[in-house]
């Protein structure tokens, strides 16, 4: 073989950004593996238990950016017990030892403690960006450590975390010398913060472009902040509780008038319709709007606001927008790409909600729509077929009909045909969530047509093992499959065990798999961790006495090169 200098390979590999390309390069030969691993800057670990942190650090010593995900997705809906795992500690410790040049860390659904945050803050002198999504286990003390020790911090982005409130002083811990902040998001914090410290911080960070406040921040404070940071691009307001006739309200109007760069708005807690007028001046430039925390904004006021946002690409709303509101969105927001409609009142007597009509309206007006999350009380096959025809570009389609197993109310049929139309039409579909009454047929359609499907969420659907088998057989690119309350059992689970090696994970809860089936899977596939999560007290004590026929409450299977887990709690059995 002719000599091919490594420097050239390195140069070429530098152009490769995507993980997939780099992974491919690294398998060519040993030399290329070496070149690639030493030049890799961004590392993503989709399942923190798939590999030991030390191995990652050893392989990629010059890593600058690390992303790790912990708990399975259904943890968001309380299906995973509180102390199941997903600890950030081993990752931060290993990175501190092996990759001190780390600059960015992104963790999702992991347990992060204050000690972890302190270690993080002290161990990486060039640290620039911390993003925590849906994490828990830390308090404002940990944030204080980050603020104190991370010189040159550019980004602190806390999205939907559970953070214990230990006081308001953490924000004051940003030293006067900290002028580098570009993005600060503490919207998920529940406690008060030191608003003086915040205003001073904002004033001394000229590059600040994204600021998301929490509910404790009043309109008065927001006014002062906006006065000091008029070049914000992305703003999450705090509490928007303000009276129409006050000075604060007028100042708010002026403040927004001054925000010429604002493109994304969120927050709006406690917002009432009257305060919406203050944001009218910025609507015309908005590309993203999140009103999903504002149940008090309803009906016509919402529509008046939306009708000004004709550049909108991303919209998150509550279902009190109603079908009429969605029709307004459809006629105004022609560039809309992502829509999320959340339920506003799932227990009580709601007055308005959205139906299939709203979705059909959206689909006919917004042909660029590629990402949907839609909660509604009913859906028809006809509507879904129409939506599929109008919007063939869906990459993410998540429909949640709030009544489990509900059929098409007009024809009383299952929704197989509707979802079938979606998967046939949307050739680039990567993520799909199903709901309503569904038989094995819908899985047949998915297996046949959803070639690029990577993530599938199923609940209260299917008739038999065949359903699951269609999906496992057909979806070549499937990475994550999560199932709850479906009649899939051991036959489906064991039909093609090597399939799970090609996937990141499989979750099955309240299905028909038995302990025997799981044991068989574990025995056949040592490259998988087969986790049984069993919360009932009796099972705790009599583990050995459980027969193979015992139905498994929750099963989590994932491929791994790190056999077993050392941190599993006693209710998690790894077979």
């Amino acid at each position: 073989m002719t000599y091919f200098p490594e420097e050239v390979v390195e140069h070429i590999v530098d152009f490769l950004g995507s993980h997939r390309d780099r992974n491919a390069v690294s398998t060519v030969c040993k030399a290329w593996y070496q070149v690639e691993r030493l030049s890799r800057r961004n590392v993503f670990v989709g399942n923190c238990y798939a590999i030991r942190p030390e191995r990652v650090m050893a392989r990629f010593p010059w890593m600058k950016s690390l992303g790790v995900k912990g708990k399975p997705h259904f943890a968001d809906f309380n299906l995973v017990p509180y102390d199941w795992g997903g600890f950030a500690q081993p990752w931060i410790e290993a990175a501190a030892r092996g990759c001190p040049g780390l600059e960015e860390l992104r963790l999702k659904r992991m347990v992060v403690t204050d000690d972890d945050l302190e270690l993080l803050a002290r161990s990486f002198p060039s640290f620039k960006s911390l993003v925590l999504v849906s994490c828990e286990g830390f308090s404002t003390d940990g944030l204080a450590a980050i603020a104190t020790y991370c010189r040159g911090l550019r980004e602190l982005d806390l999205q939907e975390n559970e953070v214990e409130d230990h006081g308001r002083q953490w924000l004051s811990c940003f030293p006067d010398s900290c002028t580098s902040l570009v993005s600060l998001n503490f919207a998920c914090l529940k406690g008060e913060i030191n608003t003086n410290a915040l205003e001073r911080l904002v004033a001394r960070c000229p590059d600040l472009r994204s600021l998301k406040l929490n509910r404790a921040i009043s309109v008065e404070s927001l006014n002062r902040i906006l006065a000091r940071a008029p070049h914000l691009v992305d703003l999450g307001t705090g509490s928007m509780m303000v009276n129409h006739h006050t000075e604060a309200y007028h100042r708010l109007i002026n403040a927004f008038l001054g925000c010429k760069s604002l493109r994304s708005l969120s927050g709006f807690w406690d917002a009432s319709s009257c305060c919406l007028q203050a944001v009218y001046p910025v609507c015309v430039n908005l590309t993203a709007l999140n009103l999903s925390y504002a149940p008090a904004i309803q009906g016509d006021d919402l529509i008046k606001l939306i009708c000004l946002c004709f550049k909108l690409q991303k919209l998150w709303v509550l279902d009190c927008i109603g079908d009429k509101g969605l029709a307004a969105v459809a006629s105004t927001c022609k560039d809309l790409q992502e829509l999320r409609v959340f339920p506003s009142d799932i227990y009580g007597a709601g007055t308005t909600a959205v139906t299939e009509e709203g979705l059909v309206a959206i689909s006919s007006g917004c042909s660029k729509l590629n990402s949907l999350l839609y909660f509604c009380y009913q859906m028809t096959n006809t509507a879904l077929v129409t939506v599929a025809k109008n919007c063939p570009h869906f990459t993410r389609f998540r429909l949640c009909i709030l009544d489990p197993g509900k059929p098409d109310p007009v024809t009383d049929q299952p929704l197989d045909e509707g979802f079938g139309a979606i998967v046939r039409s949307c050739k680039n579909l990567r993520r799909l969530s199903l709901s309503g009454l569904l038989t094995d047929k819908v899985f047949l359609y998915i297996g046949m047509h959803a070639e690029h499907l990577e993530m599938l969420s199923i609940a209260f659907a299917g008739d038999s093992d065949k359903g699951m088998v269609y999906v496992l057989n057909g979806c070549k690119n499937l990475r994550k499959l999560e199932i709850r309350d479906c009649p899939f059992g051991d036959d489906a689970l064991l039909k093609d065990v090597t399939k799970y090696e090609t996937m990141r994970s499989l979750w099955m809860s309240s299905c028909d798999v038995t302990l025997g089936g799981c044991r068989a899977l574990a025995a056949k596939m040592p490259s998988l961790n087969v986790e049984i999560i069993n919360e009932s007290d009796e099972a705790d004590e009599f583990q050995e006495n459980l027969s193979d026929l015992h139905k498994v409450e929750k099963l989590y299977v994932y491929r791994t090169v790190a056999r077993g887990r050392t941190d599993a709690p006693d209710f998690v059995w790894i077979l």
Binding site: S65, V133, P407, K466, K499, D537, L546
Partner: protein, 341 residues
């Protein structure tokens, strides 16, 4: 706003995927492809009516061995899947794969749910078992019909259940359904609370936060090597907790006593309740460790405060309580008293 995960999706290692060639797998050979061919009935030679019959008479009944979980949360989940099959059971066989006649289906639904509702009332608590598929159906129906009752105006639903469901009370919600994050679930509620005062708002949210977790704490008993776990959220008073502790340990205590009997020559076993846990009148007393690490007697503070601060429980022999580390008791006893392991 929540963003899509930056930095790409692919896995750290792709060796496995690269080595796997789909066409080699038996799972997608020509025979299978034929099976996946779209026809009226299900592939594999079965037609839909055969499947209907299967559905009607499932090989495995709704009663499944070995999985009767006491904890309401998990039984709700398992009950609802039992209920799903219960739904199928009620369906009459028909060709073409359509569901049964609407009214029959819903009438059967209705009967089952009414039965289930009564059953629930009798039980008083939400302890649904997988065996009572109809009770499970009721919980499912609760979710199905509840919103119907509420959203009379919004749906064009003309089903028979609609009017009858309006008279039903709300039933137990299904765990983890609808699939939204906890902080979204009570948005309307917390909005109202905050309008009144910021303090109350944070309390309401805190309460919701705690509700979500279900508070399982360890509980150990003197003389019993194996501990248990108890969900403090499942009780609303000290009395109920005390009863639960008695239930949890009575059997184990008996077993431990029987072991003791085998070693000694005592001839009788006393099967007494473990009582007087709270008032120090019994042989055992209930104590707990709070969030500051201190050991406290159970019963002094209001129940809610207890639940939010208790981290661990212990059932001590009442005789051990009198000991103070400063008196002349021996070191072993002190260690045992202070040692929670």
């Amino acid at each position: 706003m929540e963003e899509e995960f930056r930095g790409g999706r692919p896995q750290l290692f792709d060796f496995i995927t690269n080595g796997r060639d789909w066409s080699d797998k038996g799972g997608y050979g020509a025979a299978e492809e034929k099976n996946l061919e779209l026809r009226l009935g299900l592939p594999g030679g079965e037609d839909w009516s055969a499947v209907q019959e299967k559905r009607e008479h499932p090989a495995e009944s709704a009663v499944s061995p070995g999985h009767i979980a006491k904890i309401p949360k998990s039984t709700n989940m398992s009950a609802s899947s039992g209920a799903k099959r219960g739904c199928s059971d009620a369906v009459d066989s028909k060709p073409e794969g359509t569901l049964a006649d609407k009214t029959t289906f819903q009438q059967q639904h209705l009967q089952q749910q009414q039965l289930g509702f009564l059953q629930l009332q009798a039980k008083g608590k939400e302890s649904l078992h997988r065996t009572s598929g109809s009770a499970g159906l009721q919980s499912l129906e609760g979710k199905v019909c509840g919103p119907h009752a509420a959203h009379a105006s919004s749906t064009k639903n003309t089903t028979a259940t609609h009017s009858t469901s309006q008279s039903r009370a709300a039933a137990a919600p299904v765990v983890g359904w609808p699939p939204i994050r906890s902080f979204r679930k009570n948005l309307a509620g917390t909005a109202k609370a905050s309008a009144e005062s910021p303090n109350r708002r944070s309390e309401a949210e805190k309460k919701l936060e705690n509700d979500r977790k279900g508070l399982f704490v360890k509980i150990n008993m003197d003389g019993i090597p194996i501990g248990r776990k108890v969900d403090l959220k499942a009780y609303d008073s000290y009395e109920k907790l005390s009863l639960a502790v008695d239930e949890l340990f009575r059997g184990l205590l008996m077993a431990a006593q029987m072991d003791l009997l085998a070693a000694t020559t005592h001839s009788t076993i006393e099967t007494h309740l473990i009582s007087g846990l709270l008032d120090r009148s019994g042989e055992y007393t209930l104590v707990y460790e709070d969030d500051e690490g201190d050991k406290m007697l159970v019963g002094d503070v209001p129940w809610d405060m207890f639940v939010s601060t208790a981290k661990r429980l212990r059932v001590l022999k009442s005789s051990d309580l009198c000991a103070s580390p400063l008196t002349g008791r021996n070191q072993e006893e002190d260690k045992r008293l202070l040692n929670w392991e």
